[in-house]
């Protein structure tokens, strides 16, 4: 994976850079908007991490310019402003996700992986079934089977499972779940999400040899074999 960080705060960019390199990524850094725009248009990246407040070209303007020239590299917008109206602005400009400083590295990594995966599977968005190992869900009939056995899920549990399946193999944070399943963008701060996960786990993992829904300490959850 190759990613470009466009961020003028060296502390932040080196923090992200080190984390990503440890995760086995290729990382380039630009510390101003102009260089960032040039690198983003001339090189091939899997994702961009763009700060909003940049010298040279402002972050959102940079993304807008890229999108205008048909460059669809997924972009994660970083912001210290970090509130709902800013998020809307960031997404309107063509950003694919939005993260507020300060953030945990695990949150950034999880969102970045989700972004890249979404971009790569953009062509196959309209599948009617999702599956992982012996777990399979039918999006049209809203049915779940594991090992040939039908599992009854509440509508919300089904949504939760669908979201996890769409991000199978990746870490999904609690904030991402609140966003993706409930469509609210604040930090829940409590264990409400955990309770939903443990209920879902009780239904899809209980009675099976291999658990699929894993807890990733300090970060969130991952659905994987």
């Amino acid at each position: 994976m190759r990613v470009l960080i466009i961020e003028d705060d060296h502390e932040v960019s080196s923090y992200i850079r080190q984390g990503l390199i440890q995760a086995g990524w290729n990382v380039d850094v630009a510390d101003n908007g102009k260089d960032g725009l040039l690198m983003a248009t001339t090189e091939q990246y899997d994702a961009l991490i763009v700060d909003r407040m940049l010298p040279g070209v402002e972050g959102l303007a940079l993304i807008r310019t890229l999108r205008a020239s048909d460059n669809e590299t997924p972009a994660l917008v970083l912001s210290a402003l970090g509130e709902v109206d800013d998020r809307v602005k960031g997404l309107q400009a063509g950003g694919d996700d939005y993260l507020v400083k300060p953030f945990a590295f695990s949150e950034l990594l999880a969102r970045l992986e989700a972004l890249i995966r979404r971009a790569k599977s953009a062509g196959s968005q309209h599948e009617t079934t999702l599956s992982l190992a012996d777990l399979e869900i039918d999006l049209l009939k809203r049915e779940v089977h594991r090992g040939g056995r039908k599992i009854d899920l509440q509508p919300r549990e089904f949504q939760l499972l669908e979201f996890l399946l769409r991000h199978a193999g990746q870490v999904v944070t609690r904030t991402m779940l609140l966003e993706g399943v409930w469509n609210y963008h604040f930090d829940p701060q409590t264990n409400v999400i955990d309770v939903h996960i443990s209920r879902l786990r009780g239904k899809i993992d209980k009675g099976f040899d291999k658990p699929l829904l894993h807890t990733v300490r300090g970060a969130g959850y991952r659905l994987s074999t």
Partner: protein, 474 residues
């Protein structure tokens, strides 16, 4: 107080301007009265002289017709001689003089021609010796008239009258006027100075107090005094403002202290853990994860504070829209149902349709999340929580009522503040910011947040102004 300081005050400068304008108007008025009074007296004198001289001229023409030119002149001289001792009504004497073309006096009580030799007709003023006092002169106003045809007769008549009284009145008038004007100006100046001093005193008091406050003593207040004037009112307003500022400062200090208190503990624990880890050759994943969790808690507190500050700044208001509270209540109840169930707490939900309010969906959802979170946390197993949406006289009530221990009446206001907790030792989990955020959200929505007794438990009612449905509006 030094004088230059008073001169610089705006009140004093206004006073000077006012004194100047006042002086000019008093002087104008005085001059007008003076002119009309003295002018009237002068006119009267002139009329008397005019009548006398015209009478003489008439008599000359009469005599001239009867006795010829020379006879006329002689007759006129006789008449004048006979009148020379004549005095006016106020005792002022008349002056007479009849002269020929060589300025030789023919008759009268003046021994020489007082006017320029070529003056044929007109008014003059001169003085004559005072018969009652030696070396004194008496002013005289006189009219000169040629006896026509002057080319033939060559004689001129002068009739004058003492204007001692007129001069005296004139003098007295001018003196009174100057004195009055001076006195007026002096009084105005005194009043202005008094005014300036008094204003200066109040301002000086105000700025003295302000300087002391700037120096750091927030307990200083402006002396109000017993009067009920505008100075006292200003002093009272300033003092009220200072009270408010002091309260806010105290609040800020409390928040600051609380931040220090709330973050020092976790940060110290985090530091200790890291210190222990640094001694280990291969730190365990679990202990690192614990450190991370600890750091996350600190960050979460910071984020909550920032979010409250951001909400209070009004930044969200511009994105407010008409939204239905019903689905939000359903969503958040759905989010918490499982948690409540796990704790054996019954979450009962009662909503209504079209609960439209003007606000922000995210903020209201988070406020409700915090309220439900508190309720679930404080309700013992077997208890219940009522989540209810009600319409009441143009408002929408959002009620979260639990069957927990509740909040004592005297603490209900305090728990809405940042970092306020019932348990001052802060041993219970939670950031102490949940209700502060709810209150900030309520304030932004012009909503009333009321805590009441649920007997047993706490009943939180958020009263929001209801709006029409977005469809009806458009």
């Amino acid at each position: 107080m030094r004088l230059p300081a008073i001169i610089r005050t705006s009140v004093f400068q206004l006073t000077i301007l006012y004194v100047g304008l006042f002086g000019v108007s008093v002087a104008t008025l005085g001059w007008f009265i003076y002119r009309s009074t003295v002018g009237y007296l002068e006119n009267q004198t002139d009329e008397v002289i005019e009548a006398e001289i015209n009478g003489l001229a008439e008599q000359f023409f009469q005599l001239q017709r009867e006795r010829g030119l020379e006879g006329g002149v002689r007759g006129l001289a006789q008449i004048i001689q006979s009148r020379r001792e004549r005095t006016g009504t106020a005792g002022e004497r008349f002056s007479y003089l009849l002269i020929d073309q060589n300025l030789r006096p023919l008759a009268g009580n003046l021994n020489r021609w007082p006017a320029p030799s070529d003056m044929v007709e007109g008014w003059i003023e001169f003085s004559v010796p005072d018969p009652n006092a030696a070396d004194a002169q008496v002013p005289v106003r006189a009219r000169i008239l040629p006896i026509r045809p002057f080319e033939l007769t060559g004689i001129r008549v002068l009739v004058g009258r003492e204007i001692r009284e007129l001069e005296q009145i004139n003098d007295r008038f001018l003196r009174a006027l100057t004195l009055g004007l001076g006195l007026t100006m002096l009084l105005a100046l005194g009043g202005g100075l008094a005014l300036a001093f008094s204003a200066q005193r109040h301002v000086a008091e105000l700025s003295r107090t302000t300087r002391r406050i700037i120096a750091g003593d927030l307990s200083q207040r402006v002396p109000v005094g017993g009067a009920h004037d505008e100075h006292a009112e200003l002093a009272r307003s300033v003092n009220t403002m200072l009270d408010q500022i002091e309260n806010l400062m105290a609040g800020l200090r409390h928040v600051g202290d609380s931040i220090a208190h709330d973050l020092r503990g976790p940060l110290t624990r985090l530091r200790n853990r890291l210190e222990n880890l640094s001694d280990e050759d291969t730190p365990s994943r679990a202990s690192i994860a614990e450190c991370l969790a600890q750091a996350d808690r600190v960050l979460a507190t910071f984020n909550a504070l920032l979010r409250i500050a951001r909400i209070e700044s009004g930044a969200y208001r511009k994105a407010f829209a008409t939204i239905d509270l019903g689905p939000i209540v359903d969503d958040i109840a759905d989010l918490y149902e499982a948690t409540a169930e796990d704790k054996l707490v019954e979450l009962r939900r009662k909503t209504i349709d079209d609960a439209f309010v003007f606000g922000d969906r995210e903020l209201l959802a988070q406020a409700l999340t915090n309220l439900l979170d508190n309720a679930v946390k404080h309700t013992p197993p077997g208890g219940h929580i009522d989540l209810e949406l009600r319409r009441h006289e143009g408002t929408i009530h959002l009620v979260v009522a639990d069957s927990g221990p509740g909040v004592p009446a005297e603490s209900r206001e305090r728990v809405l503040q940042r970092f306020a907790r019932l348990d001052e030792s802060r041993s219970t989990p939670g950031s102490g910011l949940g209700l502060a955020l709810v209150r900030a959200v309520a304030d932004q929505h012009d909503a009333k947040l009321v805590l009441t007794d649920n007997g047993p438990g706490l009943r939180v009612t958020l009263t929001l102004p209801a709006t029409g449905s977005p469809r009806a509006e458009s």
